[in-house]
Symmetry: C2
């Protein structure tokens, strides 16, 4: 069989596995948007079947044999074809290194742990969750051993979400970030120039008009509604079933004008990424995000750096006022910009602002790293958590429900996921100087509501890359440097120095 | 391996195949409700993958071996388990009798034929569709040979949609039906007592209030909105992903008040059937409709016999008037009942009323039967069609676009499907005397808006049966008789005799 024939057979197999994953993604989307409540049991079964089948088809030994022969025939394949083989090999290795019995054991543990976590969080009762967490941590350590790693065992888990990234690269940057953000937060909160937000908090913001405004902004960002749609869900998310069918969801509260807006712009950033893959890469691993961190760089750049900028609101405040003429009659542009960027300490990660958000991530990363390296056990988590919250944010944690039990991630075994949220901010801030160099009129354009030049830059330099690079490779190619925290910290110190007149 | 262990393995396989089919059903539902237009290509690929995988998994030779061993061990299995084995064997035989190359050839022919039909219908140009139809007919004949049959080759195709039914049983009944309906239609149209419908046709019926009324009626019918939902689509349909997730769609026109209402009640009847399967039968072939004809008996009983009855509107006319107080201010109950049951000849099946609908089906059945038995060829269809329309309806067919090209079914090779529409009416009318015997207060209850007793009767006597019986078996068990047209014809002659004072 020629290498090309063999490669085409690989593509057919990848297309089949891809279709199963995309079908599962639609089932999940429906579960979170339109599914009637009693449909949950069957939906769980269907998702389990699709996922097991995809795994079974992908990990067949023929796939491994094909990959091996294609690796030996690399001279006969194009660069994209070789990259596809390499990425598939990477996925194949990770999918086959975990013994089937171990995967089953983990699934069962996670299902029980999720149930226990739901109750434990509600009751702020860490003790009932602790035995589950012990199993989850033990499984995470074993998973790292199965995957294999260099340096910290944490790297083996990180690799699932952030290929090519290591704890050794992250650790010093995150330590510096926590210190600098902690200091910045303290200075912000000590400033006499606090934003005035009574107009914001005391008003009912009609959700249908919030909805209309969010659709308007998504369109302005260049999100293609012929290849996507926005719906409502309890937790906003982006999903795709193809680059021509990328959907976002949002959540609107009548008392929280900017929550829905930020969520739409955030998911819109994710969605532009997925709409921006290349048609030629469809149904192959090339049409996938580089990493969760790079994905998050897109959402956070749009949400925070663009959507909360003074330039953005210079153009869109009048448009927002068209939706809420009475409510915004007496509000000035300056008041709006300061309100949307209001900083405050909170115990809850998902309620955190742009400045304090990173602190929440560092705390989780430091705890996870210590857990994986055997320096911390499940029982130690509440004390470690509360000490770090006190150290970095100066807050006392009244109970574990708003402390170490607040996030769902650990309950389904997702150790190594949290850092990607903060890496998104770092990547975005590293990209921005390069964008400003390539688009010298960027902020004037944003100030006129011209958002498409930025989308085009991101499309060309990030989206269309697909999975051809790792995050470190992409950042190096765009900035000539490695991962750095300084651009992000400098951006925050400048922005909030001005907003709070520090 | 014990029979029970082997049976459990069969169930696991059936559950997996079921989940793939249900996932595909959700993908189709989404395609017709919420999918953005550009998502169509990927959706087609995903549906093809799921369907091919389900077929591949189900037709594995191990499944056949398991079935054979279980058939030999029937003494060790319960009646329901034996019925599951028997039904699975039936499905397995039908799935494996068609050679793979033939299935592929049919798919390709159908894909091309569908495209050609779309254009041919628009241009009323039979000649361009004829070569495709020739292939489709030839394939239908070969399919019948592959499946095998007794009596007419048509029976082999009918079996796919109406297990246990034969052309020999249908033919004399349909011939009588066409003659009687043709006569009844002529008498109705000659009656001086035509309904007054200017109030209906000259009014704009706000679609949001039509929507609210349709939801109200679905609830009153006992449709469980915690296990289902209604959405909008171009063509109304019912689909399920589980008995606890059964969805309907409707289509609303501001100029057609009763079109949306009838469509909701019709789909509601289908949906009650699928919500009425037994929990214990989930993910097995027992939790499936007996046949398309029995399915249609449920929708048509609710739509026509209940939803268009005077008793129904005695209660629901005041409720409808709450939704349209001004529009219905001067309309009487009698005017409404006569308008909703208005009879008129039309060339188009989907626009036909309860009386003339059956005629359209008989025409299609007679042509299909002649095609399968080799008495008619594709080229003969337009002339045969037009002659029958003239004979039974007295209408001239101006062009094939509103004649033999109007329906999509043949373009995807669905010969043997049409009769099930009319069988639904016959089954419903055969059941009704038994229902009236078991529920002597039925019409008083309907007149008070108490629809649940009927739902309960149908649940117990039809829905929960699942696929344990064939349609002839079910009808025999409920009525002690075989398939008959007389109850349906007598019902129509009585109802319309009164409405039109014949």
């Amino acid at each position: 069989m020629s290498a090309q024939t063999e490669y085409n057979e690989l593509l057919a197999k990848l297309a089949e596995v891809n279709d199963l994953h995309k079908a599962a993604a639609l089932l999940s989307w429906d579960q979170q948007t339109y599914m009637p409540p009693k449909g949950a049991k069957a939906r769980g079964e269907q998702l389990a079947t699709l996922s097991a089948l995809a795994h079974r088809l992908f990990t067949k030994s023929q796939v491994g044999d094909t990959l091996q022969r294609l690796a030996e025939a690399s001279a006969e394949l194009s660069p994209d074809e070789n990259k596809t083989v390499e990425l598939t090999q990477w996925h194949y290795d990770r999918a086959t290194r975990l013994p089937e019995a171990f995967v089953k054991e983990c699934s069962e543990t996670e299902a029980q742990a999720f149930e226990a976590w739901t109750v434990a969080k509600k009751n702020a009762d860490f003790k009932t969750f602790q035995p589950h967490l012990e199993k989850l941590i033990s499984q995470a350590r074993r998973r790292a051993d199965y995957y294999g790693y260099e340096g910290s065992p944490y790297n083996a888990l990180l690799e699932s979400f952030e290929r090519g990234m290591t704890a050794e690269k992250i650790q010093p940057l995150f330590a510096e970030m926590a210190a600098r953000l902690s200091d910045l937060t303290a200075r912000i909160l000590a400033s006499p120039n606090q934003p005035k937000t009574d107009w914001l908090d005391d008003t009912e913001w009609a959700v249908d008009r919030q909805w209309d405004f969010s659709i308007l902004i998504l369109r302005e960002m260049g999100y293609d509604f012929d290849a996507g749609r926005q719906d409502k869900s309890a937790h906003p998310f982006t999903t795709n079933f193809d680059l021509h069918d990328v959907r976002v969801t949002t959540r609107l509260h009548p008392k929280m004008l900017f929550s829905g807006f930020r969520s739409s712009v955030h998911e819109g950033g994710h969605a532009l990424y997925e709409q921006g893959f290349l048609d030629a890469d469809r149904r192959t691993p090339l049409a996938e995000a580089i990493s969760l961190g790079i994905h998050e760089s897109q959402s956070r750049m749009w949400e925070n750096m663009i959507g909360c900028s003074r330039a953005f609101w210079t153009n869109y405040f009048p448009r927002l006022r068209e939706h809420f003429p009475q409510e915004l009659n007496d509000v000035t542009l300056d008041e709006l910009v300061r309100a949307v960027n209001k900083v405050d300490r909170t115990l809850i990660r998902v309620e955190a602002d742009e400045v304090t958000y990173g602190i929440h991530i560092v705390i989780r990363f430091e705890i996870e790293l210590a857990l994986l390296e055997g320096e911390l056990e499940a029982a130690d988590i509440p004390a470690a958590w509360n000490a770090k919250i006190k150290e970095y944010l100066g807050l006392d944690v009244p109970d574990d429900g708003v402390g170490c039990l607040q996030d769902v991630h650990w309950s389904y075994g997702a150790f190594g996921y949290f850092p990607t949220y903060a890496l998104g901010n770092l990547y975005a801030a590293q990209m921005m100087p390069r964008i400003e160099k390539d688009l010298p009129q960027l902020w004037e354009q944003v100030g006129r509501g011209e958002l498409l030049p930025l989308r085009e830059w991101l499309r060309k330099n990030v989206h269309e890359v697909g999975s051809r690079k790792t995050a470190p490779e992409l950042i190096a190619s765009l900035t000539g440097r490695g991962l750095e925290a300084e651009p992000f910290l400098a951006y925050l110190e400048k922005k909030y120095g001005e907003l709070y007149r520090l």
